[in-house]
């Protein structure tokens, strides 16, 4: 099938580097987003000999940012061994941040605007911003705009009368428009699709087993730089079992009612939902010429990408279902079907997110009515799904997940192509808050 994509030059993936992901409140307490991103970036610089290198651009971001982090990525570049003249900017698209950063820089490479780039992301729950309430904030702003001490005191006086205004507001994973947490949203989608607890626990178990195996095999040896005494993702439980996962109590979806009035089972636990995590990741891209001039490895091509949004606010669609719509558009545009994909990297926000995604693609009516396809989109071969683990085992520092997946996918297709002598492809799918989805296609180079 002919591709409908205009011809540009290739953007290739040279390699990636991240720091181990750590559960919130553990190893990376008192470590800032800038600390973590700089560490991941410095590891990348060291790995590929980029000291004093002037890169075309470094792009990344964080979902939870302190206001002082307005130029987070540029500040990280200035604190790194890259040439200080390397430009940088911040970007944020919730959990799609890291992958969207990759789309941004690879498009510039493809267009010939830049020769090289780093994309990535970082997030911390342990060092998350604490905001003051709106009433205190308004009083403080009014005081800062006041002319003279008298007005300033007058602006601040109401605060004395309302000590409750001083209570801090911590960020949560609630959707601003609905007030439901991401887990509650997914629980509703899970219930609509009738995804079982057992199927979710099986995904979680596979994630841990696969990530553990990959670590043991040394897959991450050239993808991760130890940080703060941590050399492996500390959420990983190589010894977990279906029995252990089955003992966990449901945390989302309690109190939902079926149409007949009977309670719907709550199936989502801490075991089959991603934990809150700290971490940072980076991926190095270049034009093929740039990589070859420096004798750098070329793992894969960043072929194409597609984003989508869904109408979730009034319950027409599930919050995390946007990648379901994006992937058929991405593959069709590239003349591909699910059969042509060797590795499926579907971000495990929740095990149920992966399962509803797969179920939707297999559903004749859904694909026709909601996606506008002729019939069911197809079936994903489970043996090709998240073969080296995903977010349930590794953890999910929001903006850092895209970079983690991209580096893994690039290495996987590279190894597979070397082994078989034929091109290998990986499909990446990341769901995000706000009903967003970011997907990408990577092919061995």
């Amino acid at each position: 099938m002919a591709s409908s994509i205009p011809t540009t030059r290739e953007a290739v993936i040279i390699g990636g580097n991240r720091i181990p992901f750590s559960r919130a409140g553990k190893k990376y307490v008192r470590t800032s987003n800038q600390d973590m991103f700089t560490a991941a970036l410095e590891g990348l610089v060291a790995r590929f000999g980029l000291q004093n290198e002037l890169l075309g651009e470094v792009v990344g971001g964080a979902v939870l940012k302190n206001s002082r982090d307005f130029n987070l990525i540029r500040e990280s570049v200035l604190g790194s061994s890259l040439a200080p003249a390397t430009p940088a900017y911040d970007l944020q698209q919730a959990c799609g941040t890291g992958l969207e950063a990759a789309i941004a820089v690879t498009n510039k490479i493809k267009l010939g605007q830049i020769e090289s780039a780093v994309a990535g992301g970082t997030d911390t729950i342990s060092d998350a911003p604490i905001a003051v309430g709106d009433k205190l904030r308004r009083a403080l702003l009014q005081a800062s705009h006041a002319r003279g001490t008298g007005d300033r005191v007058k602006a601040l006086l109401p605060v004395l009368g309302h000590p409750k205004w001083l209570a801090p507001e911590t960020p949560d994973t609630g959707e601003p428009r609905t007030g439901l947490s991401m887990g509650e949203h997914q629980a509703i989608t899970t219930a609509k699709w009738g995804i079982t607890r057992e199927a979710q626990d099986e995904i979680a178990l596979k994630s841990h087993q696969n990530l553990y195996r990959a670590w043991e095999e040394g897959f991450f040896d050239d993808l991760v730089t130890p940080f703060r005494g941590l050399s492996r993702d500390d959420n990983l439980r190589g010894d977990t079992s279906a029995e252990k996962l089955a003992t966990l109590k449901p945390v989302f979806g309690r109190g939902l009612t079926g149409e007949d009035g009977s309670p719907l089972p709550a199936t989502m636990t801490a075991g089959n939902s991603t934990p809150l995590t700290d971490g940072a990741s980076t991926v190095l891209f270049g034009s093929r010429d740039w990589a070859e001039e420096r004798d750098l490895p070329v793992l894969a091509k960043f072929v194409d990408a597609e984003t989508a949004g869904v109408d979730f606010v009034h319950g027409h669609e599930g919050l995390l279902m946007a990648p379901v719509a994006a992937v058929p558009r991405l593959l069709t545009r590239n003349g591909l079907t699910l059969e042509d994909i060797d590795f499926f990297e579907i971000h495990e926000a929740f095990a149920a997110t992966v399962l509803t995604t797969l179920a939707a693609w297999e559903d004749e009516d859904y694909c026709r009515d909601e996606l506008g396809l002729a019939g069911a989109f197809g079936k994903v071969d489970r043996d090709k799904l998240n073969v080296n683990g995903s977010s349930l085992a590794a953890g999910h520092p929001f903006a850092a997940t895209g970079g983690r997946i991209l580096a893994t996918a690039a290495k996987l297709v590279h190894a597979k192509a070397a082994e078989t002598g034929t091109p290998a492809r990986a499909l990446i799918s990341v769901c995000a808050a706000g009903g967003l989805g970011v997907t990408a296609l990577v092919e061995s180079a």
Partner: protein
């Protein structure tokens, strides 16, 4: 289990004004609610349940309402109920704009039902054209009509109409229950029984069994309402009924804690549908069940009528239905619809 609002929920939308037999009294400006409450409280004491409930054939009217001056209050109202910042007066704001005039009717000595303790059962509104901040020639008229039996007393409609440049822009019907009162010659009756008063069509009908077997749909939103929401909506609406302001005030009227204004919850549902989806002209209905105790958590299903299998307004393109209930319990707080006309 779907709340459906039938057409004609606001009765005649022709904007006929008050019934022809009513005497219209023109007031110079919209009255202040504070004074009305004081009169209402005092008057309520005298208004004991009696055998003959007859409504005063009287309407109040204010011509040339100053809409420009309501700017700061409109902005505050929009913040509280979640309407996007706009110079268009939403249906909820038009309701609170007309509310003092309706209250003035209810505190008349010849209005037979006591203001205090009246329960807001339901509300049906049609906005026929947008009213904007700064519009001249805005005229508000309010009256009471259609006293009829309810199984727990007497229900009555407070009607408010707002004209802009001589054209009907808004018509709202607020149905209140006065407990314990009875109508002459009518026994206690269930609400919404066949018989066809104007607002019967406005009641969300539950398909199948009665209200006891109501099953909550899957939620689309959750509201965590703090104690401050009663005073906050009280400030922007002017409705400072003590049951909304403090536990103490609520206890005096038999509630365990302060309760949220029903119109706050309905206005927030209206805001969540939003101006882009309801259009310039729309219908907005609400029925109130168990009050929302503050603080409290309310689960909502604010759904496309098509997704809910509901037919909101025959011939209307789209439309939304909403249900609200106590988080984790099948205790229903409110239901209604928002549909473009």
């Amino acid at each position: 289990m779907i709340a459906v609002t039938g057409a004609g929920g606001v009765g005649s939308v022709a904007g006929a004004g008050a019934p022809p037999s009513y005497a219209v009294t023109e007031l110079a400006e919209l009255p202040a609610l504070g004074g009305l409450y004081a009169r209402g409280a005092v008057g309520s004491v005298a208004k004991r349940p009696r055998a003959d409930v007859a409504l005063p054939p009287a309407a109040y009217r204010v011509t040339d309402v100053d809409t420009t001056g309501t700017g700061p209050r409109l902005a505050a109202y929009q913040r509280v109920v979640g309407e996007p910042a706009s110079d268009v007066l939403s249906a909820g704001f038009l309701h609170v704009l007309a509310f003092p005039l309706a209250t003035a009717v209810m505190v008349r000595p010849d209005f037979p039902l006591g203001l205090l303790g009246m329960v807001h059962l339901r509300n049906a509104v049609r906005v026929l054209r947008p009213v904007r901040l700064g519009d001249d020639g805005v005229e508000v008229t309010a009256w009471a009509e259609n006293a009829r039996a309810h199984r727990r007393g007497v229900q009555v409609d407070l009607v408010a109409e707002i004209l802009a440049a001589g054209e009907l822009a808004y018509r709202g019907v607020s149905t209140y229950l006065a407990k314990g009162f009875t109508l002459p010659g009518v026994g206690a009756a269930e609400p919404g029984r066949p018989g066809g008063s104007a607002d019967d069509g406005a009641r969300p009908r539950t398909s199948g069994a009665g209200r006891d077997s109501w099953v909550p749909p899957l939620p689309t939103a959750r509201w965590r309402l703090g104690k401050d929401i009663g005073p906050a909506y009280g400030a922007v609406s002017g409705d400072r009924n003590p049951i909304h302001l403090s536990s103490l005030g609520a206890k005096a009227f038999g509630f365990p804690r302060a309760i949220a204004h029903g119109m706050y919850t309905a206005a927030r549902a209206l805001a969540e549908v939003g101006p882009a989806r309801r259009g310039d002209a729309y219908e907005w209905t609400a029925e109130f069940f168990k009050p929302v105790l503050l603080p409290g958590s309310v689960d909502l299903a604010i759904r496309y009528a098509s997704d809910a299998g509901a037919d909101v307004l025959p011939g209307s393109a789209g439309g939304f239905v909403y249900d609200g209930w106590r988080t984790g319990r099948a205790v229903r707080h409110l239901a209604g619809a928002v549909a473009p006309l």
